[in-house]
Amino acid sequence: MQRSNYRRALAGVLTVAVAVAVAACGSSSSSSSKSSSKPSSSAATSGPGAGKPPIVIGDKNFTEEYILGSLYQEALEAKGFKVTLKGNIGSSEITYKALTSGQIDMYPEYTGTLLTAIAGDNKPPTSAQQTYTLAKAFVEKHGLTVLDQTPFYDSDALAVTKAFAAKNHVASIPDLKKLGHSLKLGGAPEFATRFAGLVGLKQLYGLNPTFVPLAIGITYQAIDTGKVDTFDAFTTDAQLTSGKYVLLSDPMRVFGFQNVAPVLKASLVNTEGPAFAQTINQVSSLLTLDAIRKMNAAVALDQQAPATVAHQFLAANGLA
């Protein structure tokens, strides 16, 4: 009597252990092919990318990068390439390190950031093309390369509220100098150490603000609540469409030229075949300022998932 109970219990333990193990294995293999969420996945099993080595794309830690990562991922998958997206990795410095250490194969980077934050080249280039050429020359020394740059550019810019601009009579960055150390300037922590950031603002414009480190997502909240007077915004920010803010002009071009170019392991261009670079360049060529602003708005204002927005854009342009 007692004995049969024990036997049943033991059988139970074993059954559960086996069931859990099988469930874990089964579900892990079925989901391991996918690490990002995406609607109505159109991943093709045929096409020029079929059978090519899998690619790991990374992206940095803000809305526009999530969209870019999803755009390249889905366009490549539609051509049969096997792609994993590692989203939201971190700042440029961290994401670039993920690329050079082999954690990822490619990520979308801004040409000016590549030059200043990564290469440490602080001589402001005079054109977008010059920036691209210099950035390309730098990464090629490190076994990397860049594909075509996008038509749109997303440069950093200092933003103030309309009220602040009127009260203090500021329209350009040099106008901030008179506010001295009482000026509270917000930005991501890495802004403090970049030339296209605090370093350049000090050198080129003689600013000496109090720096307030901010997480990227809370900059507009910080200026609305008065925590900062001005902050490091992006020219493609959806919030700028509200008309509440003014971007200060940058006559000495401390923020440089910031078109996007995917930076990747140079060997990928050969191992993945010609359709790889063609597909990516095709996507990049479609990314005008208008297109990226509307996609940013769909994510930042309408709260749609980056992958959903990327899918709609690619589908409309016959690339999904």
């Binding site: 109970n5 024990y6 036997r7 049943r8 219990a9 033991l10 139970g12 333990v13 559960v16 252990a17 859990v20 193990a21 469930a23 874990a24 579900s27 892990s28 690490s35 990002s36 969420s37 609607p39 830690n61 803000f62 997206l85 590692k86 989203g87 939201n88 250490s101 082999g102 954690q103 990822i104 977008a128 093309q129 075509d148 740059q149 996008t150 038509p151 997480a215 990227i216 997502g217 809370i218 900059t219 909240q221 078109n259 060529s285 990314l287 297109a291 769909a298 204002l301 309408d302 709260q303 749609q304 998932a305 992958a307 959903t308 927005v309 709609q312 854009f313 589908a315 409309a316 342009n317």
Partner: protein
């Protein structure tokens, strides 16, 4: 300078424009429209990945810690070193452990890294519970088993382990709930699970629906898993109810 595709890109309306997103644009506290739009593409895959991450970690942790506990049950000297090592693992802050494992060759930003860290947090709990459960089997019961002619292995499998089931499952419950919570942090290095929408939502300055929804899912998952384990325990140990 920069070649544009002929005629420029086709820019779709992205879900119908502003009027379809009144709740989202007004940044209300909770938008059910967001939930229905994002369940399929965002939340459901994240929840599924979270369950897989948890199942793998708890299963591997269970196998390792039960094996160690069974050995330590027979070989007492093993208990101290295992306790010391698993206690040290348990006290490392999760964020630090993920960052420490990331540069290790072969790990990197991967699910493996996440699992190594998650498993390490389950070991102390399950090892100690299993060992305590086995030790608490009354000597008379062990003697009775021997008296009935059972050898040490039969006694372990048929008498001691079944009696230790409530303690073992209590350990599995704590480990499971711990892993479900820690796996949200694991998304910093392994971009999957409920931590992904939670991290996205945290960096969102105004819109809170995603944070609320993903947070509620994580809590709900922990409660459900705990409830299921209670049921499993009851099924495994019918004698505890009969009394």
């Amino acid at each position: 300078m920069i070649a544009l595709a002929a005629g420029g890109p086709v820019i779709p309306t992205f879900g119908g424009g502003g009027s379809s997103f009144t709740c989202e644009r007004a940044n209300r506290l909770f938008c059910s429209s967001w939930l229905s739009r994002n369940w399929g593409p965002v939340l459901w895959p994240a929840l599924r990945q979270h369950i897989v991450l948890t199942l793998i970690a708890v299963t591997i942790g269970f196998v390792i810690s039960t094996t160690l506990a069974l050995i330590a049950y027979r070989r007492r000297w093993l208990e101290r070193p295992v306790l010391i090592i698993t206690s040290i693992l348990y006290t490392i802050p999760s964020l630090a452990l993920f960052e420490l494992l990331e540069p290790v060759p072969g790990l990197g930003l991967s699910r493996t890294t996440a699992e190594v860290a998650l498993v390490s947090y389950t070991l102390l709990i399950m090892f100690r519970n299993t060992l305590t459960g086995l030790r608490e089997v009354p000597d008379e019961v062990r003697d009775a088993a021997a008296g009935m002619g059972m050898g040490p292995l039969r006694s372990l499998l048929r008498v001691e382990l079944p009696l230790a089931v409530p303690a073992i499952i209590a350990g599995v419950r704590i480990a499971t709930v711990t892993v479900i919570s820690l796996a949200t942090v694991a998304s910093l290095i392994d971009n999957e699970g409920l931590g992904v929408p939670i991290l996205t939502a945290i960096s969102n300055e105004v819109f809170k629906t995603e944070l609320i929804a993903a947070g509620a899912l994580a809590v709900g998952l922990a409660l459900t898993a705990d409830g299921l384990l209670v049921i499993i325990q009851r099924l495994l140990t019918p004698w505890t109810r009969a009394a």
